[in-house]
Amino acid sequence: MSEILLQATAVAKHFGGIKALRDVSLAIGRGEIYGLIGPNGAGKTTFFNCLTGLYVPDGGGFTFAGAPLLADAPHRAAARGIARTFQNIRLFANMTALENVMVGRHVRTRAGVFGAILQNAATRAEEAAIRQKAIDLLHYVRIEDRADDLAKNLSYGDQRRLEIARALASEPQLLCLDEPAAGMNATETEGLRDLIDGIRRDGTTILLIEHDVKLVMGLCDRVAVLDYGALVIEDVPAVVQKDQRVIEAYLGA
């Protein structure tokens, strides 16, 4: 593993008496595709929410790109370079696909109220750049022909792709995908696999939660397994697949 991009140290989170995360520590290297698997309710999404600032961890913390990540506001996590998608797709349903991606540019642009009202040269230039970048991203995820359709009218697979494009619009260093292949058929999953691989090749580190074991094992450089909120093992797929505890907890015999 090369340089460490994200270091989680003893992250803990509980909801009342339920310990959703028990001192989870793991490290993700820059340029990796890192898988996070485990049975339902193991704490994968909770881990995501802590990382992206939607939850405040009860213990431990994250170091991102060499500096501690303050878990106080989600928008700051995005500004630091962490983007995410959601397990149950959360697009801006009544905005067009293009507008969805344009919103994604928010943290990397500056225009304020006065710029918008005065429509000065800088604002107009920025607006044009936002639009161009958004169009490029729609091409990148190959849904450019749906640009002017409302997000809610896109097919399921296209919605997943749009959500990835919106996340990429903030130029993240770490892209967190929460079950991107859920509900996809084999062809769509194959396309998604190529897309994720391409994103990594273009320099973005990926943290992937996924139930599709074939996809995870084929795609990820390293895999971590969570069970009852605790980290069971963190290793290359070949080792994880053969681990007795993982087989018992998750993979089955």
């Binding site: 600032g53 506001a73 801006f92 905005m95 710029g115 009202i117």
Partner: protein, 405 residues
């Protein structure tokens, strides 16, 4: 897809109104004094509708501008009262557009909007009346009013940031009432607002030496007070329209829309939802404050009575009835709802006397009935408002046919 009630349909609406009036005029024996004015006004309505139907072209814009310029002079033939009604229609359009930023763009249901209107009006009243002996100039008071209202917007907005929908509506409703009750009671121990008596003798708007109250001679033509206010309000309203339009298609406007659609996702893409919601409250409040200031100056009198909950609901009804988030729709809603009661008063009253020889239903109580009925009908048949934005229209139509995956 069927084309919604848009400019061409407005013309049809005008023609229908025309038929109604002709019918009504036929019932009036002798010389009904407003006969001609009503005819002219309807003709102007139709011309305006025509202008709106090709407003992308210069000719359309010119036609609209011409109608707007001629309007107060035509209305004046029926008496200055009608010019004042027009003034209030524009003032309400201005207010409704301010509220549209909060409700239409950012999706925050604000039932206490009239509080900012009140704050603006009282700011003007205190800074330009004998009450404190202050008589500051227009250029100082208008921005001050906007600024004070803006501060109130942030102040009242900040505790509501974590609330949504109904809860937000209830809290803002409470704030609206709190402000009104404050105005009502701040006459002791120190007399600030003069309590329920209100503040009188407020200075009219004056730019340089040019006063907006009373008649002036311009190019040999006498311009009345309400006519001058009409043009002032028109300029202000056009400014708000431009600001609304530009905000809507900007980075900020998209962020507001995103918050309206899905707040969690908006946070996740890096939108500072707290600041942007406060910004929406502040912007909306500033416009409310400005409108309040002009209101105070135009009336020469303010009292807490003008800022009741009914007023808030009325402004919200304008936004919702017209078409939330769609600028022409909001203006249509404001103009309809502010002129309708007057039409009822001047039309239905005399009509009853003509038909039955006496007044059967008081037009004032008929007003609420018609309002209620209109709202129910609009919600049933045009849930996105009378003139919704094309996108919103699409949402509804496609939403109906869409099979969810």
């Amino acid at each position: 897809m069927k084309k919604a009630l848009s400019a061409p349909n407005l013309i049809i609406f005008g023609v229908l109104m025309f038929a109604f009036v002709v019918l009504q005029l036929g019932l009036f024996p002798g010389n009904y004094p407003m006969k001609l004015t009503i005819l002219y006004l309807l003709a102007l309505c139709a011309l305006f509708g025509l202008g709106m139907s090709f407003r992308q072209h210069l000719a359309g814009k010119l036609l609209i501008a011409a109608v707007l310029v001629v309007l107060p002079f035509v209305s004046a033939t029926a008496g200055q009262a009608w010019v004042r009604i027009l003034d209030f229609a524009i003032l309400y359009a201005f207010l409704a557009l301010g509220l549209n930023i909060v409700v239409g763009l950012a999706g925050l249901l604000d039932l206490g909007y009239v509080a900012f209107y009140a704050v603006g009006a009282y700011t003007w009243a205190l800074l330009a009346s004998p009450h404190f002996g202050l008589h500051l100039p227009f250029w100082v008071i208008l921005p001050t009013g906007a600024l004070v209202a803006c501060c109130f917007g942030v102040l009242l907005g900040s505790p509501t940031l974590k609330l949504r929908g109904d809860y937000l509506a209830i809290v803002t409703l409470g704030f609206g009432e709190i402000v009104r009750i404050f105005m009502n009671n701040l006459n002791a121990p120190i007399n600030i607002t003069n309590g329920p008596q209100g503040i009188t003798l407020i200075d009219p708007v004056a730019i340089g030496g040019f006063k907006f109250s009373g008649a002036t001679q311009i190019f040999g033509y006498t311009l009345s007070g309400p006519q001058k206010y009409y043009f002032l309000l028109l300029v202000l309203a056009i400014l708000v329209v431009i600001i609304n339009q530009r905000l809507q298609n900007s980075r900020i406007g998209r962020a507001w829309q995103a918050i309206r659609e899905d707040e969690v996702a908006a946070k996740a893409v890096g939108i500072n939802t707290r600041n942007l919601k406060l910004l929406a409250f502040a912007m909306g409040a500033s416009f409310g404050g400005m409108a309040g200031g002009v209101f105070a100056a135009m009336q020469g009198f303010v009292s807490p009575e003008s800022f009741s909950l009914n007023e808030s609901i009325m402004i919200l009804a304008m936004v919702v009835l017209g078409g939330m988030g769609h600028i022409p729709g909001v203006i249509l809603g404001a103009v309809l709802l502010s002129i309708l009661p007057e039409v009822l008063r001047y039309g239905v009253g005399p009509l009853q006397t003509q038909l039955f020889g006496k007044m059967l239903v008081d037009p004032e109580s008929l007003r609420l009935l018609v309002f209620g009925l209109a709202l129910v009908l609009v919600m049933r048949f045009k849930p996105a408002g009378l003139w919704p934005s094309p996108e919103r229209q699409r949402e509804l139509v496609e939403g109906r046919t869409e099979v969810k995956p």
